[in-house]
Amino acid sequence: MTATANPNDMIHVRATPEEKRSTIIGAVLIALGAYIFWQFGLGVEPGLQATFNLSLQTDTVQGLAWVVDPRQFSMIIGVIVAGLGGWRLTRRALQYTNLSLAISFLLLVMAFLAWAAAGSQFSLVGMLRSTVVLSVVVVFGALTGLMCERVGVVNIGIEGQLLAGAFAAVVLSSAFGTAAGVLGGVAVGALLGWLLAWLSIRFQVDQIIAGVVINFLALGLTSLMSARILSEIQTLNAPERIPAIRIPFLADIPVLGAMFFDHTYFVYGMFLLVFGIHYGLFYSRWGLRSRSVGEHPKAADTAGINVYWVRYRNVILGGMIAGFGGAFLGLAQVARFEENMTGGIGFIGLAAMIFGRWLPIGALGAGLVFGLSRAVQQKVAILNTGIPSEFLFMVPYIVTIIVVAGVVGRTRPPAADGIPYIKD
């Protein structure tokens, strides 16, 4: 590029949105790096140590710990984050913008924890394990939404499907055993999935309204039965708890064992579903058909795909996933039903689906971010940092808002999302 005589070079080339985003994120990361350097690095008294414990009482390997000097540690992290920001400012390798953001986020959390734990200690592995457990329902919710929206049906009723699944699982498990409970939860999820599909496909009801109806229906029915039946016959609200299954050898690995290989089968199921749905959506005929119905139902119809059938099938499958997630909530966590026990987590799942960009692996990542922010909150609460507990409660939601507000870049829902298909 030496010739200045070329008139094309004189034309001001406008930056693409991706380039602009790279610049903005670069500037933000540099500021963040500087903040980490001053606050979490220089803000710590010299000589203090932070101890991250890496063993749980239940672990095979005991006494592992990672001791850092928070001052040094956070200063290095500050430099790395600022360096990533500088790299973004160059607008090179735009595909790594989100990766840089994710790495910076994790480094920020680490620096913050080192600062909070200066002169003290806490269980890092416990926090990471909590992260996985707290993300489970969110991920199931996000996968439910994804199954539906990928074929063009918006599912606002995830919350209700989770709740009804939990209720059915608890009651049936109390009466007929665990297997009946889990299957019952899945079946009720499927039923509510069918209801959503029926309303939105057969009657072309506004899908938002159909979802809201499902939420109210599930909340009302379960609360009514809980107050009328469960409070009278308490044996129906006392299911056997589903125990964790330790995976031999893998569970003995320090840190990773406690995080991933010592859970109930719901958690293993979550990981299988995430990778299974990802594979299915992008590498199978089922996935191609589903996506085509969600993007351009008319073209799919022309190609001989039964649009209605594909939509019914996926929405019902989505409902089953929510029912399974509800069973996790009711049978693996506390083993009892409480009125409105989902408490809005289905909606967080919906947000996770969006900021996971309608991708199963994105949904998993989003769920883990939510879980992490809650798990960090618990550790900070016992480290006496002076940060008000009321503020800590807001953190997961602030993170959600920031991320949904566009940090992950432009997201694009399936083109036919929420639009009923009317065959000519």
């Binding site: 109210f216 506390v334 083993a335 026990m341 006496n384």
Partner: protein, 394 residues
């Protein structure tokens, strides 16, 4: 499209009706407790000095000889936790029924369960419309409603739980629960095998935090007396803040995670404060197979909570809401209503105490048990120097 409209309308109506029913299903439940006579001889049980034992104060009815009661029509309004909260609403309602048994309450007292703050006002109005002479409002959340309606209805006597008096006709019931929590903290510090004890609450509000504060101070007292170094996690006395779940719903995954977070740090004796948020903690301790224990609050957990956690309850910090409610109604029924004053329940007057150790009876060393009893006596007599939580801040 008429068919579509019909289907959706039907579903929507069904959903709304069910949502409404589900919430208020137990409206106007009346008790079946048989008390046909409006006048019953009062059972006078001698009051055992609360300081003397670790016995439940709830079992020692402290009805003083006040002569015959003129039964008053009583109405009980819960806060949004409902009457089956296994906590203060349940305990308050028990107090009404205890007063029914002694003849101070007229037959068929009414209980109105709230499911949200929007229910408080209509419920109180219902009570008044039903001709209630004494209205018990359960919890500080009803303070505004109580203050407003008490001023407009000077002929009705009111009792509010966990709040100070709100007028000449309102009896405030407050509790110095940190006195019991202090002793429980001392006990926990003496019992821990890991040297770490934990505590967490639902939300940082005075009626919850007072437990955490007393507990932490009790542990500190143990450390001071014994030269020990037991650590409390979940409450910072200086900052008056600590670990909270942000919810009182035991099924919220956050609750169990909060408990597990403390177990991860090595805490083996935990005091969770707020309704049933201690249940998931019992589950977590059982799942891990560690030798841990829980400390209950309000009513003796061994009696109030489901059976499977029996051997986990080290003790319970008793908050005799039932006793105070009963006393307040009985005072009204005997012609000397206590409206205009606040009654602070404490160790001395028997409204606060520690429950028996039940399954832990054999495991608590006799020496430690004796020390805890001595502490209960010392607190009641005011001979321990410690900073009490200020009640009545509202």
């Amino acid at each position: 499209m008429t068919r579509f409209t019909r289907v959706v309308a039907l579903l929507a109506v069904l959903a709304l009706v069910l949502a409404a029913c589900g919430g208020d299903s137990d409206d106007t439940t009346t008790t079946e407790a048989a008390s046909e006579t409006t006048e019953a001889p009062d059972e006078t049980t001698t009051t055992e000095a609360a300081s003397e034992t670790t016995e439940a104060p709830g079992e020692t009815t402290t009805t003083e000889a006040m002569g015959e009661f003129t039964a008053v029509a009583t109405c009980f309004v819960t806060d949004d936790a409902g009457v089956d909260d296994r906590s203060f609403n349940a305990s308050g309602w028990k107090g009404v029924n205890d007063a029914l048994a002694t003849g101070a309450v007229a037959a068929d007292p009414i209980v109105l369960e709230s499911t949200s703050a929007a229910d408080y006002q209509p419920h109180v109005e219902t009570c008044l419309a039903q001709g209630a002479e004494h209205i018990v409002t359960s919890g500080f959340k009803l303070a505004d409603t109580t203050a407003q309606f008490a001023a407009d209805n000077p002929d009705v006597q009111w009792t509010i739980i966990d709040f100070g008096s709100l007028g000449d006709n309102v009896t405030g019931l407050e509790y110095q629960t940190d006195e019991g929590a202090f002793a429980a903290g001392y006990l926990a510090a003496g019992m821990t095998q890991t040297g770490i004890v934990g505590t967490y609450g639902g939300v940082n509000i005075p009626t919850v935090s007072i437990f955490l504060d007393g507990y932490a101070r009790g542990v500190a007292h143990y450390n001071e007396v014994k030269g020990a170094d037991v650590r409390v996690i979940g409450w910072d006395v200086e900052a008056q803040d600590g670990a909270f779940t942000g919810t009182f719903d035991p099924a919220d995954p956050q609750v169990r995670a909060t408990c597990e977070s403390q177990l991860d740090e090595g805490a083996d004796i935990i005091l969770p404060v707020g309704g049933a948020i201690n249940l998931p903690c019992g589950t977590a301790i059982q799942d891990r197979g560690i030798e841990g224990a829980l400390i209950g609050v309000d009513a003796d957990a061994v009696e109030a909570m489901p059976g499977e956690y029996m051997d986990l309850w080290l003790t319970t910090i008793l908050k005799g809401i039932d006793i105070q409610v009963q006393r307040s109604i009985e005072a009204h029924a005997s012609g000397a209503p206590t409206g205009g004053s606040s009654s602070v329940g404490n160790l001395e007057n028997g409204a606060i105490g520690l429950a028996p150790y039940h399954a832990w009876e054999d495991r608590v060393p006799a020496e430690l048990a004796a020390e805890v009893e001595q502490i209960l006596v010392d607190i009641a007599e005011g001979t321990i120097d410690w900073e009490k939580f200020v009640v009545g801040a509202g």
